[in-house]
């Protein structure tokens, strides 16, 4: 009895949840590829996810870049390695912190909002009303959000990374009196196209992860207003954990691919 209540049932629920999530993602991807959504549906989401998130993304990128620069300078100055501050900030922002930070911010700002909106529509039968009028909710509500996120997330991440590098440069040159040349020269030498590709791949996948979890949790909301609250919290927590887990795997995979292509030099 205890085994069933505390182990068997939760495991079975978790596995069936994974199954439903996979089916939903597969259906949305199939719909995204088979039918182009109307611009009138796409534009509001592009604006909400992209344009309205931009100030937050730039601000957090800027602040993080400044902190990275300050820490790099502080930690490396007694070892005579302050010259690597620029490349440390740039590599960190592009390859790791930019995508993670942006996806965390987008989870809080956009993912939670999508989940709450869809969850609220679900519990007030608005989704059922849509079905009753012969409209497929996945096509009408979910596909435009997926596509908008897929388009906007890499763009936002590039902005975040660029703001971070700018913040790092600003702090290093204004507070620590480093020359622009010292900060920027290593970047032009050691920053590779592969770093930018990594940035793009990670941000794109994190974006899809955030939007898919938000839509799934929203569509499976039960239990009125309290249920919407529970779904939204769970959406944010699961998204953060999934981003960190997938980031670890992606980092290993992308590094391996780099070594396979370019060798260990």
């Amino acid at each position: 009895m205890i085994f069933q209540k505390f182990i068997l049932n939760p495991t079975s629920n978790w596995l069936s949840g994974i199954g439903r999530y996979t089916v939903m993602v597969a259906s949305v991807l199939r719909l995204s590829l088979s039918k182009r959504p109307k611009w009138s549906l796409l534009v509001p989401h592009l604006y909400e996810i992209g344009v309205r998130s931009l100030p937050l993304i730039c601000l957090t990128g800027l602040a993080t870049g400044m902190v990275l620069s300050a820490q790099s300078f502080f930690q490396l100055s007694d070892k005579g390695l302050t010259g690597v501050t620029g490349i440390m900030v740039a590599k960190s922002m592009l390859v790791e912190i930019g995508p993670i930070l942006t996806s965390f911010m987008i989870t809080g700002r956009v993912g939670a909002s999508i989940c709450a909106e869809l969850g609220s529509m679900k519990v007030t039968e608005q989704v059922d009303a849509m079905v009753s009028m012969g409209v497929r909710p996945l096509e009408y509500l979910v596909v435009p959000r997926y596509l908008s996120m897929a388009i906007m997330m890499p763009v936002l991440t590039i902005f975040s990374s660029a703001c971070g590098i700018f913040g790092g440069w600003l702090l290093a040159t204004q507070l620590y009196e480093m020359t622009s040349q010292t900060f920027l020269d290593p970047i032009s030498v050691y920053l590779t196209n592969y770093d930018i590709i990594s940035n793009f791949v990670k941000s794109w996948l994190f974006g899809l992860l955030v939007v898919s979890i938000a839509c799934y949790k929203g569509f499976h909301t039960k239990g009125g207003a309290a249920g919407v609250g529970r779904s939204t919290t769970s959406c944010v927590v699961i998204s953060y954990c999934a981003i960190l887990g997938i980031n670890f795997l992606l980092t290993i995979i992308l590094n391996d691919i780099y070594w396979i292509i370019y060798g260990f030099n």
């Binding site: 909106e117 529509m121 007030t124 039968e125 059922d128 079905v131 009028m133 012969g134 409209v135 497929r136």
Partner: protein, 257 residues
Amino acid sequence: MDLISLIDVKNVWKSYNGIAVLKGLTLTIPKSAVTVILGRSGVGKSVLLKQILGLETPDNGQIEVNGKDLETLSPKERAELTNLMGMLFQHSALFDSMNIEENVAFALRAHNIEGDIEQKVATALDDVGLSGYQKKLTSELSGGQKRRIALARLLIYEPEILLFDEPTAGLDPITGDQIISLIYETQKKLQATSVIVTHDIQLALKVGNYFALHDEGVIKAYGDRNSFFSDSNQLVQEFISHSTLPPHLLPKLGGKT
């Protein structure tokens, strides 16, 4: 008058968390008539409507619409069948991110139906007595107005099968009467097949042609106006006793069949 059945619910079972709500329910809904399903709150009347619409699938049993088993249809065939139906939800289910005009025109725009949509919306709003409400938000409306807007949204694409889930629930008697009149007028205009689930005996008496009593997961009594209200079932008699009209007059009320 020969009755053609349009919806056949055959031995349908449905459970939630191990609790059976529908227990082998069987019901025939005749074409171009109003069938009222009476029952106390919480017996699963709305569940039955959702099964007919295909929003939920039965655990067991069959639902046939136009002779087609919903379970065996392809998604495309099912979508075509769903397009014939429309449902008025208990809490109206208006899209709160849209204004009234966008709500009412939703189905037309989603299906790229051509024509003067603005004019159609204006006519639909006029029909429900809410002309000029196009730019209002759903949050600005009262419960009765929301129900009327939901009715306009339902009627604008003229479905052949109308499903009403507790259309007068939560409304004051005057607003409830307005909704009942609108449903009656709509039925007369569209000659649609309507299914109304309700516990409102006044509504049932004013618009119903056929009646079913849903209790304990099955249909306990079914028939036209005369046979249903002369049924000796205790719950039927209790419903009649809550009518504001004398029981001996009930079978003579309608004559619309």
